[in-house]
Subunit: 416 residues, 2 copies
C-alpha cells in the first residue's frame, strides 16, 4: 500500500500543529496556505501599534519544515474541494488527498455590512496590522499639520469597535501611544488629548471572563483615558464617521474588533451553522466524509454550553489531535474522541495591566501582565528561539519607545 | 531681531545632519519630509533581501528630535519653493523661511524610459525594498507550484541592472538566498539552479574603485554563481523581459540599480545640470539666492574631475557644514567654504566578501567584510543604540537564516 497523502489547508495554529505531528513520518503532506508564513496572531496587535515588526511574529512556513522531507509547502489560494474526486482545487493546480485537514480559521465579519470593511479594518493578518499601524501614526501626522479644528479633532479620535480581548488590547495600546509614546514628539498638537473610544454592544468588556476581572479591565482602561460606550451596536460606518443609535462619532481611525466568522462551508460544499462553523463528529471529521477533518475556528466542537472558544490553544489542541490520528492512520476508528482542555483566558490592557482567568486562579494587574508575557514567550519558543523577541521586548520596556512606528506607503495614493 | 526661521526639506543624511547641528539653538527649524522616518539607506538592500526589518534601519524623524523644542517636524510633500516670498508650498500648507536647506536627494532615473519603472523597481525607499523583497520570494513560490518549464525558468531568473555598489550587493545577496538560505526549503525546484544575471553598461563593476578590487568583485560574484554581462546597455524592459542588443532575458524579477538623478531643479525654479544636480557656490548656496542652501545628492559640488560622490558621508558632511553656518548665521559671510573629505569607498558582495578602497589602504575579502560591518554599525550608532541591530546581525550570522523573508500582500491583486 502506498503511503497516504494528506493535504492541510491553512497553516495557522491548528494547521501548523497537525503538520508538526506528521513531520518525518511516512505520510506525504502538502500544506497549502495563501500566505507564505505562519502568524503568531496573539501578538498581531503589537505590530499594529508599532511595538513589534512583522518578522518578529511570523515565520516562513517552508523554513519551519525545511528539514521534513515528507512535507511540501505551496503558497496558493484554495478555490474548492472536490470531495468525490478527493482533490483540492487551487488557483494554480490540483492536489489529490487521502486525508484532508481543513484549518482555514476565521475571517473578519461585519454582520453582513461588508461595505464597512475599508473604513474599519479588522486585525487578522500582517497586512491588516500594517495598514492599521499606518492609519494610527498617519492620523497624528495629519493632525499636526492641520489648521481646521473640527478636522483635527477627527484625526485625533480613535474608535475601536468590540470589547473582546483584541478590542481591549487595541484601545489600551492606542491610549498609551497617545499619552506616553508620542507625548513629546509634536509641536502643534497635544497627543495626550487624543480621544480613544471603545464601543461594546454588551454590558461589559471581555465577555466570558470572570465578572470581577471585567470590571477591573473597564476601570483600568478608563484610568488610561479610554472612553467606554456600552450597550450600543454600531449602526453605520462611513469614512471618518461611526454612527451609534444616539450619536455620530467623527473619527479618522476606526478599528474593527467586533467579530470574526469562518468562511469554510462553501469551500467544502456543506451547510454552515449560524456562526459560520461546520459540524464535525467526535473525531473532528465531516459526518458525511470521514476522510475530511475540520480543525480550529472553522470547526463547531461542542464544549460546555456552546462550542470550543476561538483561541490559539484550542486550535493547537485540535491540530495536534488530528495530526496524531493521521500518524496512526490505520487505527483511526479505534482512536479516542477529541477532548478540549481549557487552560483559561488571558487579556492584556496596557503596561503592567492584564487579566488572567484560569481554571482555579483569577488575578489581575502587574502579576497578570508578567504572566501574560511569560506565557506568550513560552508559546513563541515553540516556533523559533525567542531570544530576539525577548531582547526586543526588554529594550522596548526599558526605553518605553515604539521601535516600529514607521509609515510606509500612503492610504490615498497607494492603497495597500 | 527675531530668531531666524530655517526650513529643511528632506531628512536623509544631509537634512538630518543639518538639523542635528541646529537642535537646541535659537533657530526655529521646520523639517519637511514626505515620509515620517529617516532611512539608513546603505542597508536598504538588506531589507529587500529579508535580512533586516524596516524598523531596524529607519527611525521616526520626530522621535529623533523629540527633545529639541526648537525643531518642528512636518510629514508633507513639497510642491514648490516661492523664492520671492520666501515660502515653501506643500500639499497642505505654507512655511515661511529666512534660510532654506534643500536636501531632497536623488530619485530612481530610467534614462527617460519611465515606463520601465513598474517592471524594474529601484531601491530608494522602504516601499521599494519591501516590494523587491516580495518579488524575490514570491518568484520562488511561483516556481515551486508551476508546471510549465519555460515559465518556471523565468520565475527562477533574476536580473539586476547596474554594476555599482547597489547592483553588486543585490546580485550577491540574491545568489546567496538561492544557493544557501532557501536551498532546503523547496521540493519541486532546486533553488541553487536559479539564474542571477548582473548587467553593466561599462567594462567593469564598481566604477571608481581601484582596478584590482573591481576584478576581485567580478570574480567573487562569478564564484557565487552570478552571470556577469558587461558592455551592454538595456534597450527595453517589459513585464518579464529584459532586452539587450544581442539577447532577450526572460526574468520575472528585474531590479534597477543603474542610476539615480535628483529632481530638484523644478522645485526651485532653476536650471538643472545634465546630471540633474543644481549649481551651488562655495558655501553650498544658490548663486542667485544666498538664503537657499542645497546639500547632498541634489547639489553639484566640484571635487576632483567631477562632483562630490552621492554617498552617505558626503551628504552628511554637507549637511553638517550648512547646519554650522546657520547656527552662526550672523557670520555666514566670513565662514570658510565647504571642503569635502573623501574617506573612501566600500561595497559588500556577500558573506565574508567585500571591498574597501580607502585613501591609503585597499583591501578585500573577509577583512573588508568585517570592516564594512564595523563602519556601518558605527554610523548607525549616530541614530540610535545599535544593540538590537548588532544582536540581530549576530543571530542571522550564526544561523545563516533570513529572519524577514515574509511576503505581505500580493503584486497582482493589490499593487502596493
Amino acid at each position: 500500500m502506498n503511503p497516504p497523502k494528506a493535504v492541510i489547508i491553512g497553516c495557522g495554529f491548528a494547521g501548523l500543529a497537525a503538520a508538526k505531528q506528521l513531520a518525518d513520518t511516512e505520510v506525504e503532506v502538502t500544506i497549502i496556505d495563501q500566505s507564505n508564513h505562519h502568524l503568531f496572531q496573539p501578538l498581531l496587535y503589537q505590530v499594529a501599534t508599532g511595538d513589534l515588526s512583522p518578522s518578529e511574529i511570523a515565520w516562513p512556513i517552508r523554513s519551519i519544515f525545511a528539514q521534513a522531507k515528507n512535507i511540501t509547502v505551496i503558497q496558493d489560494e484554495v478555490l474548492q474541494v472536490d470531495k468525490a474526486e478527493k482533490q483540492v482545487i487551487t488557483q494554480n493546480g490540483r492536489y489529490a488527498y487521502d486525508y484532508l485537514v481543513v484549518a482555514t480559521g476565521a475571517q473578519n465579519a461585519y454582520f453582513g455590512q461588508e461595505q464597512w470593511a475599508p473604513h474599519a479594518p479588522g486585525l487578522k493578518n500582517l497586512k491588516d496590522a500594517l495598514s492599521i499601524r499606518r492609519d494610527i501614526f498617519s492620523a497624528f501626522e495629519q493632525a499636526e499639520r492641520c489648521d481646521d479644528e473640527t478636522e483635527r479633532q477627527a484625526y485625533m479620535t480613535f474608535v475601536v469597535i468590540g470589547g473582546g480581548p483584541t478590542g481591549v488590547e487595541m484601545a489600551g495600546a492606542i491610549a498609551e501611544i497617545a499619552r506616553s509614546t508620542l507625548a513629546k514628539d509634536f509641536r502643534h498638537i497635544d497627543t495626550r488629548k487624543a480621544r480613544v473610544v471603545l464601543v461594546e454592544g454588551g454590558k461589559q468588556l471581555l465577555a466570558g471572563f470572570d465578572d470581577r476581572l471585567c470590571r477591573y479591565a473597564a476601570k483600568a482602561l478608563q484610568r488610561m483615558g479610554v472612553e467606554l460606550i456600552f450597550d450600543r451596536f454600531v449602526q453605520n460606518i462611513e469614512a471618518d464617521t461611526v454612527s451609534l443609535a444616539d450619536q455620530h462619532i467623527a473619527a479618522h481611525t476606526i478599528i474593527w474588533a467586533a467579530g470574526v466568522k469562518p468562511q469554510v462551508a462553501q469551500l467544502l460544499g456543506v451547510e454552515a451553522q449560524k456562526n459560520g462553523k461546520v459540524a464535525v463528529d467526535a473525531k473532528l471529521r465531516l459526518p458525511t466524509h470521514p476522510d475530511i477533518f475540520v480543525v480550529g475556528d472553522a470547526a463547531a466542537v461542542d464544549w460546555q454550553d456552546g462550542t470550543v472558544p476561538g483561541i490559539a490553544p484550542a486550535a493547537k489542541q485540535q491540530g495536534q489531535y488530528v495530526g496524531r490520528l493521521l500518524r496512526q492512520h490505520a487505527t483511526i476508528e479505534e482512536a479516542k474522541p477529541f477532548k478540549y482542555q481549557h487552560a483559561g483566558n488571558l487579556a492584556t490592557i496596557g503596561r503592567h495591566k492584564a487579566v488572567a482567568d484560569l481554571k482555579r486562579l483569577k488575578f489581575k494587574g502587574w502579576p497578570a501582565w508578567y504572566f501574560w508575557g511569560l506565557i506568550h514567550i513560552y508559546f513563541l519558543i515553540g516556533v523559533r528561539s525567542a531570544t530576539v523577541i525577548l531582547l526586543q521586548w526588554f529594550w522596548t520596556y526599558l526605553t518605553n519607545r515604539k521601535p516600529a512606528r514607521l509609515i510606509i506607503g500612503s492610504k490615498n495614493k497607494d492603497p495597500d
